[in-house]
Subunit: 343 residues, 2 copies
C-alpha cells in the first residue's frame, strides 16, 4: 500500500507552509507575463526538489473538488470496435491530450438505453463536456444535456430539434458524388444497400439516392433500397444479394462500410465479378475495397477536420461556461464535404 505523498509532507520536509507548496505547484505565468504568486526563487527550488525526491503526485480528487473541474471530456460513440468510430475515438483522444484533457469513451451500440446510461455514468464522473454520436431515439437524454447546459457537440449526425453545435459531413452531396460515379461506369440498374436505423446520416444518403434515381427516370426509388439491421444477422447479406441479382442490378451504392464488407463477401461467394458484372461504390473506409480491379471507390469523410472542429467548439464552450456564461443557444452547424476516393 503506497502511502500517498501530499503537499503537507512536502511542506514539512521543506520547512515551509502548505500554502507555499501549493503556490509553487500552481505558479503558472498569467496572460500579463507575470507570475500568479510571488515566491522567492530559493524556496521555489527547494520545494520543487523535495517534491521530486518524494515523487509527489497531486491528488486530482482533491483538486477537482476544490476547483470544480476535472479536465475530462466524454466521447459517446456507436461502437469503438468499428474502425470508423475507432478512428474518431483515436483522433479525439489526441486532441483531448493536446488541450490538457483526458478522454472517456463509451459505446452505445445504437441503443438509446445504453446511450443514456453512458451519459449518466460520465456525468457522475464529472466530465466537463461531451462529443456525441446520438443513437436513434436518444432524444430524451439529449434534451436533458441541453437543458442542463452541459457543453455538448454532436458529430456524424444532426438532430433537427436540438439546439447544440453540430459538425457533420454533407451526406446528400456525398451520395450525389457516389451516384455520379456509378452512372459514369455505365450502370443502368442501380440499387442501394442501407441501414434500417433512422439516423440522419443514413436518411440523408437515402434521400439523395432517391432523388438521383428519380432524375434518371426511376419512378419508385424506394423499391431500389434494401436495408440491413445494425446487428446484422448472418443470413441478411445473402438474402439481399439474391434479391439484387434477381432484379438485374448492375450498380450498387452501399451506405456504410460494415454492410459493404458483408455484401461484397456475399457477392464474392456467388461468383459475381465485382466491378464487372456489378459496379459498387461505398461509404467510409474499409481495407477490402483495394482488393478489386479497379478498386471499389468510396466516400471518405473528412474525419480529421470534423473531430478537430468538434473539439475546438467543445473546448470553447467549456471555457465560456467556466467564465460564467450560459451556453444554451449555441447551435452553429458545420458541414464538410466528403471526397470520392479510389485507391
Amino acid at each position: 500500500m503506497t502511502k500517498h505523498i501530499t503537499i503537507k509532507d512536502i511542506a514539512r520536509e521543506a520547512g515551509v507552509s502548505v500554502s507555499l507548496v501549493s503556490f509553487v505547484m500552481n505558479n503558472r505565468i498569467g496572460a500579463d507575463g507575470k507570475r500568479k504568486y510571488r515566491v522567492s526563487e530559493d524556496t521555489r527550488l527547494r520545494v520543487l526538489e523535495v517534491a521530486r525526491r518524494l515523487n509527489y503526485q497531486p491528488n486530482s480528487a482533491a483538486r477537482n473538488l476544490r476547483q470544480g473541474r476535472t479536465h475530462v471530456i466524454g466521447a459517446v460513440l456507436s461502437d469503438m470496435s468499428n474502425i470508423f468510430y475507432g478512428s474518431i475515438a483515436r483522433q479525439l483522444e489526441d486532441l483531448a491530450i493536446a488541450h490538457g484533457f483526458t478522454l472517456l469513451i463509451g459505446s452505445t451500440d445504437e441503443d438509446p438505453g445504453k446511450f443514456d446510461s453512458v451519459v449518466r455514468t460520465f456525468l457522475e464522473k464529472d466530465v466537463e463536456g461531451f462529443i456525441v454520436v446520438p443513437a436513434a431515439g436518444c432524444d430524451e437524454t439529449m434534451n436533458y444535456l441541453q437543458d442542463a447546459g452541459v457543453p455538448t457537440v454532436v458529430i456524424d449526425r444532426h438532430f433537427p430539434y436540438l439546439r447544440v453545435p453540430n459538425v457533420i459531413t454533407d451526406n446528400e452531396d456525398a451520395m450525389e458524388k457516389a451516384f455520379a460515379a456509378l452512372l459514369q461506369q455505365g450502370a443502368k440498374r442501380i440499387h442501394m444497400v442501407s441501414y434500417g436505423m433512422r439516423i440522419s446520416s443514413i436518411i440523408d444518403r437515402e434521400t439523395a439516392f432517391a432523388r438521383c434515381l428519380r432524375q434518371s427516370g426511376v419512378e419508385d426509388p424506394e423499391g431500389r433500397i434494401s436495408r440491413v439491421s445494425f446487428d446484422m444477422k448472418p443470413e441478411e447479406p445473402g438474402q439481399i444479394v439474391d434479391r439484387l441479382l434477381a432484379d438485374g442490378c448492375d450498380g450498387l451504392v452501399i451506405a456504410s462500410n460494415m454492410p459493404a464488407v458483408s455484401i461484397i463477401k456475399a457477392l464474392f461467394r456467388r461468383k459475381v465479378r465485382i466491378q464487372k458484372d456489378i459496379w459498387i461504390v461505398s461509404f467510409d473506409y474499409s481495407n477490402v475495397y483495394g482488393l478489386f480491379d479497379p478498386a471499389i471507390p468510396y466516400i471518405q469523410q473528412p474525419l480529421a477536420e470534423i473531430t478537430r472542429k468538434a473539439s475546438d467548439i467543445l473546448f470553447h464552450l467549456i471555457e465560456l461556461r467556466n467564465a460564467g456564461g450560459d451556453i444554451r443557444g449555441e447551435n452553429a452547424r458545420y458541414v464538410y464535404e466528403g471526397t470520392l476516393i479510389q485507391e
Copy 2:
C-alpha cells in the same frame, strides 16, 4: 451554470441531517442480507423523493476524495483505431461496466514515451488499476508500476523480468498450427512476414517459425523472415513482396493483421494468385481474408477469454489492495490457445 445540488440541500429540504441523507444514498445491502445502516422506511422514502425531485447528482470528486477510490481503471493499448485493440478496448469497457467501473483508454503507438505519459496521466486521474499492452522499451514505467504496487495486469505480451500477472495467447503453439496448415497445402518454400518490434508476441512467433523451418530441413531460417516497421512506410510491402517472389516463395505466414492487409494488396497488384501461386496463413482477424477462395486461414486469439481473465484478476487485485494487502508478488501467468480459423 447549473447550481449543483448537494446532500446539504436535500437535508434541509427533507428536514433531516446530512448524514441521514448520506446513509440513505449508500444503503447497500451487505453480504449478510442486512442493510449497512438502519434508517426508518419513512425518512428513507422522504429523502429519496426529495433527491429525485431536486435531481440530485452525487459529486464524485468529493466521494473520491473521501474514500480514496475512483472506480476507474485504465487500459493502455497500442492503438485503438486498429481493430484488434479496438475490440479489446470494447470488451474491456463492457467488463468494467459490469464491475461498476469506468474504463479510461489510452494509445501508445508502441512508443515507450507515449506509454509513460499515458500511464502518468491515468495515475493522476487516480485510476485504481491498469490493463496494459506494454510497448517495447517501456521497462522503466512498468517497473515503476510494479514497485508502487499499482494493480496491473499485462495482456497480449509477456515481460520476463516483470512480476505482474500476465494473460496471453500461446504464440509458439499458434505458429506451429499456422505452419502446419501451410505444409498441408503443399507449400515448399515458406517465408514469414513479421514486425520489426521486439515484443514478446512477435518474438515468440518468429522463434517457433524458425524452429518449424529447421525441422523441415532449412538451415538459415532468419533468411526467411522479413520485417516491416510498425508505422509501415507505403513502399515497404511492395519491396518485401518482390523479394519473396524473387526467392520463389510459395507459402507465407504473416505475423499480424495490419501487415497482412498490405502484403495481400501488394501481391494482388502484382497479379499473384493468392491461395494458388502462393499460400497464406495469417494472425488475427481482418475482413479481407474471406475474399479469397479458399479463404485465408488465420490464427484467432481468444480475446473474450483473455480480457475476461485479465479483468477478473485486476478487480481481484484491487479488492485485495483495498483490504490492505500488498499485491506485489502476484504474478501468475495465464496462457490460452489460439485457433486456426478458415471462414
